[in-house]
Amino acid sequence: LPEDFDWREKGAVTEVKDQGKCGSCWAFSTTGAVEGAHFVSTGELVSLSEQQLVDCDKACDPKDKKACDSGCGGGLMTNAYEYLMEAGGLEEEKSYPYTGKRGHCKFDPNKIAVKVVNFTNIPLDENQITANLVQHGPLAVGVNAVFMQTYIGGVSCPLICSKRKVNHGVLLVGYGSKGFSLLRLSNKPYWIIKNSWGKKWGENGYYKLCRGHNMCGINSMVSAVATQVSS
């Protein structure tokens, strides 16, 4: 495994997007994983539609029928993969643009850009996450966002951050071995995380979280998808 790795340098990550005042982070995490998997399998980077998921996806977790995808009210990336496998696939952003509010489903099967053919949970093991990231592309992950409300930059490594209160869906795009931190003149290995709060938040829309401690629950909800080009 390389010491440092960043899918952005390989062109596998679209621009930082902005979910607006809508609890649709799960949709952005899902499209990020599908965009990355599509790039890994075809070399083509396509910005995919979160709005299709917000409007049309009502899939529920098979083990908890109350855990359903409900637009701005929240959802789960693994539910979204199930929906995409049943619906046939995901449209491009430009054919189904984001509005930040839940509306009527306007999904058009003739405009499917990418199909999801399978998905997996990645084991909690840090090395397995790293290896799957390098092998499969960007990974959809959950994190406890409590320190992100005030985050401005640097490598976040809170002394206390609950691993069990995972409430935000983001995208793992890479990792670094030494993140220099001004305040503590120290270097920490970190994850590079793409967020969906616009480019002005954090480090150009990205969050750096220290690796090696399942910090803020980052290892507890990791998934990868396999895609197929729509014929």
């Binding site: 799960w26 977790d61 083990k63 908890d64 959802g75 290896a131 985050y151 305040l183 220290c210």
Partner: protein
């Protein structure tokens, strides 16, 4: 916003120490212009100013608890923690709790070789 500089002279002081005219209010004004914020009524302005002042303290706490990062005023500094979570996160609870390996998984990824 100009008339908002009127100082409160009545006795019914708010629970919060009156923040109008303080340095915190000046910071709040900078925050508003930087993030394009505006509030419909004076009450809402004062309410958000109170939340902002608490979030400035929260950022200082986060800085102490997370010294290798930089924490401070962000676009979310006029939101309570609940408002922030409701509007800007969105991972659903599963089985009454958040996070953790969710049920809707077809397969667990095969273990990859990571020796060395």
């Amino acid at each position: 916003l100009e008339d908002l500089t009127i100082r409160q002279v009545t006795e019914d002081r708010r629970v919060l120490p009156n923040l109008l005219g303080t340095h915190t209010e000046t910071k709040f004004r900078v925050f508003m212009s930087e993030h394009g914020k505006s509030y419909a009524t004076r009450d809402e302005y004062v309410h958000r100013l109170g939340i902002f002042s608490r979030n400035v303290l929260k950022a200082a706490e986060h800085q102490m608890m997370d010294p290798t990062a930089v924490h401070g005023v962000t676009r979310f500094s006029d939101l309570t923690e609940d408002e922030f979570k409701k509007m800007y996160t969105g991972v659903a609870e599963v089985g009454g709790r958040r996070g953790g390996a969710v049920g809707a998984v077809r397969t667990e990824a095969a273990l990859l070789e990571v020796e060395g």
